[in-house]
């Protein structure tokens, strides 16, 4: 028996939507962490009941929550008061909530500022965790992309986090600048065939790749063109919105940029535009069909000034050719008076047969397709604004 579980992060809590392999009838559980912003929740690929959650608040800072039973119960892994911390007089230090930039000589660089909106240098300040990416082979290992942009890693199930400082220490670091949503590292892609290779994306610095498990990083933005920056083809400074791969073909990357849908077939070394016949190539999420590396999905948004779908019609666009040729998927989606947005982490696919595709909107709807996007059904209609969607297919 297969279970399909959707992990939904919203402005006011987390929700867990559960169905069987048919993906027609859903139960709704939540809100978890009511009233808190849940930027992201994601389960371990090797232990689906191990779920990491980024719980955050402009008032009370960052909390990391973990479940080991599929979301039935939660705890903060570094703040367990039953654990005696001998080095600190028996008091746990709340380490799971602690994200401290590495400025040590040994592993980090004393990089303390980046470019601010007014062109001056501004101190690096931790705000929140945007994205959690559990390891593909170890449930205790997880990566965190944070604002201000940096990559952190835990190897003890989230109890403690340390920065992979080589990224922020890249020579271009002082020139990185925030986008409108802040300077966030929002995308982490792990190469299933090469554990030393990781891709990440930062708004508004661009895409980066490491080939040595995070020690050193290289910008991978050749071929991107952004008219919003002084040099449209600069090495860094691009507002990349999201990147996805298919696990069977990790050398091909798909990117939704601020404007333009892009594709790379050489691990990010070079990119080419595949926006083709899209009604708008502005958008946030991009997804790859779990059974076909050449079938991809985007949700066109009118523009960076008008964050809603063209013509008030909510349409997912699917390409079966890896881009360039796109078809509108509209069955079951509102085709009039619709002015919601779909954020960068708010679209995901399952591994069911046929592939299930899911997305959440800023209007609080979560739509599901159990037929590769041909038709859509709202699972829920009135959640708080959806920030993220992840899907688990559990045998």
């Amino acid at each position: 028996m297969t279970t399909t579980r959707i992990l939904v992060g919203t402005r006011k809590g987390a929700f867990i939507l559960t169905s069987d392999g048919h993906r027609q009838d859903w139960s709704v559980d939540g809100p978890h962490f009511a009233g808190w912003e849940i930027y992201h929740a994601k389960g371990s690929p090797v232990d689906p009941d191990r779920i990491y959650v980024s719980q955050t608040s402009s008032w009370f800072g960052q909390i990391i929550q973990r479940s080991d039973d599929g979301g039935k119960t939660w705890f903060q892994p570094g703040s367990d008061s039953s654990v005696d911390d001998a080095e600190n007089g028996g008091i746990p230090q709340g380490e799971s909530n602690k994200f401290v930039y590495d400025t040590s000589e040994a592993t980090g660089k004393p990089l303390s500022t980046h470019q601010w909106y007014d062109g001056t240098q501004h101190p690096w300040e931790f705000a929140r965790v945007w994205h959690l990416e559990p390891s593909l082979d170890d449930p205790d290992t997880c990566y965190a992309g944070v604002e201000d942009a940096a990559l952190f890693k835990t190897a003890d199930g989230g109890a403690t986090w340390h920065e992979l400082a080589g990224l922020r220490g890249h020579e271009s670091g002082p020139g990185w600048a925030p986008g409108a949503g802040g300077m966030c590292l929002h995308t982490i892609v792990l190469d299933p065939l090469n554990p030393d290779r990781i891709f990440c994306a930062i708004s508004a610095a661009g895409a980066f790749r490491t080939n040595d498990a995070g020690k050193t990083w290289h910008p991978i933005n050749q071929g991107l063109r952004s008219e919003q920056i002084p040099n449209p083809t600069a090495e860094v400074g691009h507002c990349v919105h999201h990147i996805e791969i298919h696990p069977a073909n990790p050398n091909t990357l798909y990117m939704q940029k601020h404007w333009d849908v892009m594709r790379s077939d050489d691990g990010g070394d070079t990119w080419r535009e595949v926006s083709g016949n899209l009604p708008s190539d502005f958008g946030f999420p991009i997804a790859v069909n779990s059974h076909d590396p050449e079938t991809i999905y985007v949700v066109p948004i009118l523009s960076d000034s008008l964050h809603y779908p063209p013509d008030g019609k909510l349409r997912v666009y699917r390409s079966r050719t890896g881009g360039e040729k796109w078809e509108a998927l509209t069955e079951g989606l509102p085709q009039q008076h619709c002015y919601v947005n779909v954020l960068r982490d708010a679209m995901a696919v399952d591994t069911g047969e046929p592939c299930g595709v899911y997305f959440g909107t800023t209007g609080g709807q979560v739509y599901a397709s159990n037929d590769s996007g041909d038709s859509w059904t709202p699972v829920v209609r009135d959640l708080p604004a959806v920030l993220s969607i992840e899907v688990q297919t559990i045998s």
Partner: protein, 98 residues
């Protein structure tokens, strides 16, 4: 015993009610009261004060005996009514209307 009133979100995080009590070592100051709170409820570390600098988070306010003591020195003594337990030390999330 010092009485502390917590905002809703910290109550749910700590799994406690609106008001908790703590025993404070030394003078009854903001710093010592918050140290005692975090020692008893480690899940609150980093939520009232930033982890590294130990500075109050910008949108957190402290009230004591009807006064806003947010901007007082963290090492100033709190009012006698808080020291005696007649009044609570209140941790408040700043209002943010819309």
């Amino acid at each position: 015993m010092i009485r502390i009133v917590l905002p809703h979100h910290l109550q749910t995080l700590a799994g406690c009610g609106r008001e908790v009590t703590v025993t404070v070592d030394g003078n009854i100051t903001q710093r010592n009261v918050l140290d005692a709170l975090e020692a008893r409820y480690p899940m609150l570390r980093g939520t009232v004060r930033e982890h590294v600098t130990m500075k109050r988070r910008p949108k957190v306010r402290f009230f004591a005996d009807g006064e806003d003591v947010t901007h007082d020195s963290p090492d100033d003594d709190l009012p006698p009514s808080v020291v005696s337990g007649d009044q609570p030390f209140m941790i408040v999330g700043a209002v943010s209307g819309g």
